[in-house]
Symmetry: D2
Subunit: 407 residues, 4 copies
């Protein structure tokens, strides 16, 4: 066992930290101003584009992607960089071309799309020229379980005919989001895990309608391309747009979720560190009862407990990454669930406490805290609510003790 | 000891509940549409005005105000009505002319303003024709302790000259908010509790500038007239605008806070009941693991614990109201602090859990939950952060045990 | 609604408090010494007997019992006295002849026993001459649900033949505990709520064996007559020993549990107050970081939160008592469950925090804290574990929202 | 970074696990019977002696001790073994000659005692022939801060004269505990960290009196040699008995605490695993509401959260061990504090929940749970209460943000 970072990760982390502190955080106010002044605030801002160019120069580009197309990092190596990017979650992941849902979408395209599809969509995505969306969640069902999906995707000759309603389709409000990966039911009577398929639907396909943006708390999340409700009515795409093959949708989604979750968790830890950093400065600037907050017992208690929580959950997340690297996503299933449950929950609590320390400023646009809170809170629901994962993890743990029913 | 409601309260509560369920809640979607379509969304919407007229017809008007100008209810009697109004906190308190900060402002005007000032501002406020704001919190200091106030209010002949910056001035974004009660320092070198005064500043006084609205978790809170940052530069008002007298600001603020806090707490309990009501319906509509949420152990546990929390905190709040009625606001100080600490905190937790049960819908504009959450969260900071009240309550409790230092 | 104590309660509470502070608490060390020196520590100590004589003189006797045989107090009136007795839970309830399980047993004997049985056992119990036990819980089943009871109680002519194993039979280690009320199955194939009966079994009946005392944490609870495992092998008692009638066991147990739970809850609140009282004194005696604990933020926070919890749960418990008095035990079912869940849980947490403040002394025999903790912890399990009550309360709450399935 | 165990640790862990499951746990009932039947229950039981002989055969001996006298394991390697021994904390650490306080005492003797002292006491300790005690905590002061120590240790010619009162001296009730390491003040007016010294006091030195055993939640902890209150009145020992040198007491205690704490934490994690193991079996044996506990949502939730907590705290503890191995105890100070705070607290909560699942059996001597609880609870106070460590950790974290006061 060895808890030291390897040299490659250390070097990249150094670059990423400098970029964060010297260029990204200082650009946040300008980015906010860009958004306020934008004709279409769903598009990437000039500031975001400028930082992306800069990140690419610095080699902080597509780091999320294992293998040749990306940076060749392991999950363990990328994890540390992802955490740093979480300090400025609206800007830095985007600047590094590592933002959700593009990162997961690029991985799926690389692994499962046809050469033509790769050419048309993966290439510009890898170059940061377009963005993408992932259409899975549906308003009418508990769609975090892919088997509950109701959108239909019926083969009709050389085409699939798609009908259904999706929502919380992150990114889709951004008109640059040119390609949607849509999960639907291609075989409603098949074996439960083989009923679903994923298919590529270009944004401008007839029958695709972006209905409205959804809010998360009061935020529209322009930086993320928003969260859209999208209607699919008699949408037709060629069969070659299918990913991997008909009936592979569930399997792909399982493969996709592991990396997606671990990246979310690492960024969340960065968000918690950002909150603590803000608290650290505030604690010396503000006084109550005649001495700085930094000298108050309750503030020290909060900071101590937050530090312990972050340290232990970071280790659990890193170990999960290591398991994914060494024994694979499937074998790391329990750990992936564990961090998916614990990290957003605890980070939400830490940010909530940080807000309390800031008073009104913590609630408002004058600190990033309220928006960080909303993001962390949302991630307790993205990819399925805590409750489902807790129940599943508990069931698996208890299964080990189940008396065999042998005769 | 007797836990039964008196007949007058029972009858009023009956009317209020019918109004809520038959008229207010059904009007919420139209009110949201009004806001979307409004030229100036800070003004009261047509729906809000229509409901106000209706509430007045029903006798649900100015109930917050003890004595002849109001409905002559005790705090204990009003508490039950306030809770009901909290089910729809953006619409019903406003409809009943009982919304913060107008309710507290009307009470101060009635008790401490000159006859001219009453005529000019109290009368239209009592009639629901204008609205008002209370300018206390300042961005630069921990102003929940009135002694930290920095705005200056210097007597200059027959006028006071006011300079300072206020924020989280709720209501001030609404142009109908014609009168501001401003707290400032009139005697910076006086005895700590006699340095402050409160004065009436008409909105259109030269030197008053509404700088910008502040967000609370992304919400602008149009219904409440927003939360403004307001600048006062060389603002002059006649000395007759002072409330009660120079040096009385701290005393007035203490008197004002008791009723304000208890009304907030009762409305918060109504918000928690609304959340539970939404959960109750959802729990039968949605299924997971093959059975309705209503039959899941973890959902039952949440509902049971929420029920216990609400019941016990409601009793504590009612007892506090009873103490205010029977022994006065000062003698009820510990209890007022207790509910100020506990109610927003616990209601926040209940709404947070309710959101979790709703998934994406809970985060979005499709349920009231996220907005209720933001309101509850904000109330942990309004009138001073939890931490200050907890420390003060604990200190008072411990004082009882302090060894006397007598010889 | 009125939160004032009535005069009768106020007067009794005055007497009880004086007795507690001037006689009971000062006698605790002597009582501990009595126990250490006792030949048979399960018997009442000389100190306990002396205090009982004194309590009777003061009119603090059988206060738990409504009606003529007792003090004629309502549940609401007794609740305040029970809380005071909880400050010294090993001595004062016993001194007042109000200790569990005798109190519940006396109530059952009065209401459901034959005149002969009353003469033989109720009279000496009311006089504090003997003690009693209630044999319900069984080691092999979740017997908090009376329907799971397995002990058999089969009619055989003029006798019942009893076989079964009971445990956590509180009081039975005390040889003065002369009469056992035993719950068993008299009709294993009957309607589920009619299968059980309760019968009186004198301690010295052949076939009754006290097997061993059980510990609660490391305590034997001598004062309570311990918690025994008891074996019943071919035990025969006359049919006239049955309470109320065959098949009435479940109904009696339901009737019995309401008062028992509320008394436990009130005593628990007294235990929490005792812990806070100890903390209050300690907080001024001990210093850390150069100032008394009483001036530390985290200590103040603990005390403030404990105060809020106790106040709100006391009100909920008193309201429950009021409901039992006014609408009956059955109609107060939800509230009884609520306090059964919340009070032991929160009081355990408060005592746990108090221990932490005391350090080693808090763990040891030098303060009552560790023993109070064990008692509170045990009460989360007595009469059924929290989980069962939480699930039931949640189910009932959710039932209100169940869509009717009518056409 | 690498989360795999090295081969040496894996092999030892394999042996330790087999020993635990095949020999230690099966011997627990016999050990309990030995204690019941013992003439002097403070002495090691025959069962404990038999297991110690067996552990030595298996190479599971003195593993805690780095370097040649012990097994040459790193802290990281030993940590995994310590966790396994925590499953049976009364028997297995003792069997492995790795129990507190002997382990820490042996380390101090090896590092700081004179050759004669080593010969006389270290040798038989390493051979498991005698036991030892560490006299630090005092009843009158917050002695977790060594600077508060009041026992005096005054040089008088070739002797030190010792006077003072110690308590919670674990192990001292056991007459085999032949040597006490006593911390006292040798220079009350010196520099605060140089006032203390540690000295070896043989048990039978005139003036040493074992006053009484202290309980921990009712337990006497015979297996650990109890927790004694010890009086030192005009006790004289030769100056050569001093450890390291006069004035070195504080420095030695700092050095000692790191390893002690990490060993406690690892054993605590084993205790939590034992509790979960018991729960796992129970969850399939017991049913409620018509299905095994293992299929209940709330039980799954408990198990899932316990698993997450254990995994993340284990990683934090292992990382702390790694830091101690690589950068030293001093540099690992923050992490040592972090685990000292978090591990006992969370393990206490897990065991508490486990008890709840077991009902009465969980409270009693029929499962190890209540005793495990008391042990975990006690460890929140041993070596200083949580609060002190939390405040210190928080202060250190916040210090990073302190504005420099440079001109």
């Amino acid at each position: 066992m060895d808890f030291a970072l390897d040299d490659k990760t250390k070097a990249l982390a150094e670059v990423a930290k400098r970029f964060l502190h010297e260029e990204v955080i200082p650009a946040e106010p300008q980015h906010a101003a860009d958004l306020r002044d934008a004709e279409n605030p769903w598009r990437r801002t000039p500031t975001a584009r400028r930082l992306a160019a800069r990140a690419r120069e610095l080699g902080l580009w597509n780091l999320f992607l294992p293998g040749e197309d990306g940076a060749g990092l392991t999950q363990l190596q990328y994890a540390t960089i992802a955490e740093i990017s979480g300090w400025s979650p609206n800007l830095m992941p985007q600047a590094m071309n590592c933002a959700a849902p593009d990162s997961g979408n690029m991985e799926m395209l690389r692994d499962f799309a046809s050469p033509e599809a790769k050419d048309r969509w993966l290439k510009p995505l890898l170059d940061g020229e377009i963005r993408s969306a992932f259409c899975m969640t549906e308003p009418a069902v508990a769609s975090s379980d892919a088997r509950n999906i109701q959108a239909s995707m019926i083969r009709d000759g050389d085409e699939y005919l798609i009908n259904g309603r999706k929502w919380f389709t992150s990114g889709a409000m951004n008109p640059e989001s040119e390609i949607f990966i849509v999960m639907g039911k291609s075989d409603p009577t098949g074996e439960p895990h083989r009923q679903q398929s994923m298919i590529l639907v270009p944004r401008d396909t007839p029958g695709v309608t972006i209905l409205r943006p959804l809010t998360v708390f009061g935020y529209l999340d322009h930086d993320h391309g928003g969260h859209a409700e999208v209607d699919f009515v008699d949408v037709r795409v060629p069969v070659t747009n299918i990913l991997k093959g008909e009936g592979e949708g569930f399997a792909i989604s399982q493969a996709r979720l592991g990396p997606g979750r671990i990246h979310h968790c690492m960024r969340l830890l960065g968000m918690a560190e950002r909150a603590l950093d803000l608290v650290g400065h505030r604690a010396w600037e503000r006084s109550a009862f005649g001495k700085p907050l930094a000298k108050q017992g309750t503030v020290r208690e909060f900071v101590a407990n937050a530090r312990i929580t972050i340290e232990s959950l970071r280790l659990l997340t890193l170990k999960t990454a290591w398991l994914m690297d060494t024994v694979g996503n499937r074998a790391a299933h329990t750990e992936i669930q564990a961090i998916k449950i614990a990290v957003p929950r605890e980070v939400q609590a830490i940010i909530d406490d940080a807000i309390q320390l800031f008073g009104g400023a913590g609630l408002s646009q004058d600190t990033p805290l309220a928006e960080l809170f909303a993001a962390a809170r949302g991630l307790r629901l993205a990819d399925g609510p805590d409750a489902a994962h807790i129940a599943s993890l508990g069931r698996n743990e208890l299964r080990r003790f189940e008396p065999s029913e042998a005769v």
